[in-house]
């Protein structure tokens, strides 16, 4: 086996060498990304309200129906840009009016959020809408 051109051990070495090399490259890119992120995520605007809003977003499993920056379920509208699409007042009224109980229509549960929680959630969605996403989504509809 040792004298052949493309042996199992050559294949194995390509596997180990290649994996390690590209994982290290990935780490380098990750390091560079981490350095550059403050310019695109505007972390200086991460207020306690935004942090609390993210927690409310998570603990109500919003991602189970919606997408956020295109990730999540595809059952309900994209919310990464909902703040620009609908605005604060609409979001809060909408959340309070759920469910619509319109027969046969997709239903959003009533999450019974307090006024404070709604404000925090909106703050989170506002911050999210300001992330520099390289121009995505293509239009306001998400």
């Amino acid at each position: 086996m040792d004298n052949a051109f493309f042996t199992k051990s050559v294949a194995r070495n390509i596997f180990f060498g290649g994996s390690v090399f590209f994982f290290l490259l990935f780490l380098v890119l990750t390091f560079d990304t981490t350095r550059k992120l403050p310019k695109t995520d505007f972390r200086e605007n991460l207020t306690p309200a935004v942090v609390s809003g993210k927690h409310i977003w998570e603990t109500n499993n919003c991602i189970g129906c919606h997408t956020l920056l295109g990730e999540g379920a595809y059952f309900a509208p994209e919310l990464g840009n909902v703040y620009t699409r609908r605005g604060e007042a609409f979001i809060k009224v909408w959340m309070k009016a759920m469910p619509t109980d319109a027969p046969g229509r997709r239903q959003m549960p009533q999450f019974n959020l307090t006024e404070q929680q709604l404000d925090d959630l909106v703050a989170f969605l506002k911050w999210t809408s300001e992330i520099d996403t390289q121009g995505w989504p293509p239009n306001i509809e998400g």
């Binding site: 890119l29 991602i63 990730e71 595809y74 059952f75 992330i131």
Partner: protein, 523 residues
């Protein structure tokens, strides 16, 4: 079965199939909610049913991988499992944790579950696929660590093969990247960045090592092709998978607030991601064509071929379709993603787990293969499930293309919900596809209960079907020992020949991977 302790795999496989059934039932529920929006509302809202659907998939695949590891490692290491008792305890811990989690999802509102389970201590919940309460996440980590301890000890104390090394690397990688499930920074961009270290580096990274190892093991068993040849293919496949797949993570970093250079890195490397799956297809067919025996377990071979092809189509082709940044700009987060997700998961991971179950389960039940009648049922199940999943994928792709067109391209884009109304026909047909898939799954389960004619294997390895019942365990052992001995002989023989002749092996591009048995003898 060569080692008694391999039997611990059996409850893992049974649990996997049970949870698979539940997963599909919840799939049918959410498929229905796509067209009858208020179906089961408010009892089971979509987000809950969807979470159950995806979490059950992950958990049952993990059950499958674990069962496969417990079955495969003793056989490869040529010794009993380090601790069968630990494997059984781990099984119950995992099953109970999993079941309680699902009950929790269904019984109380998600926010209540989060509060009950200490999510405020370390918030990890509420992210796609990582919805599990903290306790469940810790439970999964412990269960995997227990498995790793058990199989690593077994391997260290026994024979070390390429297959076990790669399987163990895959499982250790699975455990390592799971740790990122516990990292949830308040900055959404960072959160998403490292979320993919679990999701992408699992399914397009370390899980592919597990898949390749399982496929290699099954192919060695059912084709009798020399281990050296199969190992080499396996290394080529996983080398290509990780070389393309690690930087390929970049195809998730286009639009989440990360620098724009990821559009280049992601596009270029992930465009190459279909290659390992293509090689895997070549591998499976080439090994089966060059088989040295006709294993009576035809259906296990079919699953092995099926997983290679469907993974190539689902993960490779359907992944490529929307992986280039300029395309992904329009398709990101649409039904195209859903289409790709369905066929990729089914092809790569569902089918490889069903392949190992199909190979190992009859042996654990005391026969080398199921009766032809049972295999016929399973073959029907194979085609019903596979074809319906392909149809589901085509329909979701159609829905996705139309969605992109109506909602994202054009001067007067429709709103999300208005677009969804236009897609109803696709969703109805998809639901029918789901129904057919479920029928296939029922046929699969029934196949386990079909008795039929006993498959006998004579000691010379030829099979014949006879309607006589005799205990087969000894016979199987005899045959398997013979095969092992043959493999060993062949290895030595080939080793000797290779040294003698000083002949280089044929390179990758050629159809022949190494000097085959016949030509050696002729020489």
């Amino acid at each position: 079965m060569q080692y008694q302790s391999q039997l611990v795999a059996k409850p893992y496989f049974i649990a996997a199939i049970g949870l698979f059934i539940a997963q599909i039932i919840f799939g049918l529920i959410i498929g229905t909610q796509y067209v009858i929006g208020d179906f089961l509302f408010p009892e089971i809202p979509f987000n809950v049913a969807r979470m159950v659907h995806t979490n059950l998939l992950i958990v049952w695949l993990l059950f499958g991988f674990m069962g496969a590891a417990y079955y495969l490692v003793p056989e490869e290491s040529e010794r009993e499992l380090y601790s069968p008792k630990l494997a059984i305890i781990t099984f119950w811990v995992f099953l109970i944790t999993g079941a309680l989690t699902i009950v929790g999802y269904l019984a109380v509102p998600y926010a209540t579950l989060a509060a009950m389970t200490g999510n405020d201590l370390l918030p990890t919940m509420g992210r796609e696929f990582l919805e599990q309460p903290l306790i469940t996440k810790v439970g999964i980590a412990l269960v995997v660590l227990s498995l790793l301890y058990n199989v690593t000890m077994t391997t260290l104390m026994g024979r070390k093969t390429s297959i076990t090394i790669i399987l163990l690397m895959g499982l250790w990688g699975l455990a390592f990247f799971w740790l990122f499930a516990f990292y949830n920074p308040v900055n959404l961009v960072l959160d998403k960045y490292y979320w993919w270290w679990v999701v992408h580096l699992w399914v397009e990274g370390v899980w592919e090592l597990i898949m390749a190892a399982l496929l290699a093991f099954i192919l060695i068993k059912v084709t009798g092709v020399d281990r050296e040849v199969i190992d080499k293919w396996m290394y080529v496949i996983i080398a290509l998978a990780l070389i393309t797949g690690i930087i390929g993570t970049g195809h998730h970093y286009y639009w989440i607030g990360t620098p724009s250079y990821w559009q280049w890195w992601g596009s270029i490397f992930s465009a190459l991601e279909p290659i390992p799956f293509f090689v895997m297809t070549l591998f499976a067919f080439s090994m089966v064509n060059r088989r040295r025996r006709d294993h009576p377990n035809k259906i296990a071979t079919l699953w092995a071929l099926g997983t290679a092809v469907t993974a190539f189509v689902g993960a490779g082709v359907w992944g490529f379709m929307h992986t280039l940044a300029p395309v992904n700009y329009y398709t990101h987060g649409s039904q195209i993603t859903s289409a790709h997700g369905h066929l990729a998961f089914y092809g790569a991971y569902v089918m490889v787990v069903l392949a190992i179950i199909s190979y190992a389960m009859p042996i654990m039940r005391g026969r080398v293969a199921n009766s032809p009648q049972a295999q016929l049922w399973e073959t029907w199940a194979f085609w019903l499930m596979t074809i319906s999943m392909v149809v589901i994928t085509l329909l979701l792709t159609g829905a996705g293309v139309m969605q992109v067109w109506l909602q994202r391209i054009g001067d007067t884009p429709l709103s999300f919900m208005a677009t969804q109304d236009e897609l109803a026909t696709f969703y109805w047909l998809r639901l029918v596809g789901g129904g057919v898939f479920f029928i296939g799954l029922i046929a699969y389960v029934i196949s386990f209960f079909i008795k039929g004619d006993v498959v006998l294997v004579s000691v010379d390895g030829e099979t014949k079907d006879e309607k006589v019942h005799i205990p087969l365990e000894d016979e199987i052992k005899a045959v398997e020992k013979q095969v092992v001995a043959k493999e060993k002989d062949k290895r030595e023989e080939e080793h000797a020949t290779a040294e003698e002749e000083n002949k280089p092996e044929v390179a990758l591009a050629s159809t022949e991977f190494s000097v085959d048995e016949k030509s050696q003898k002729e020489r």
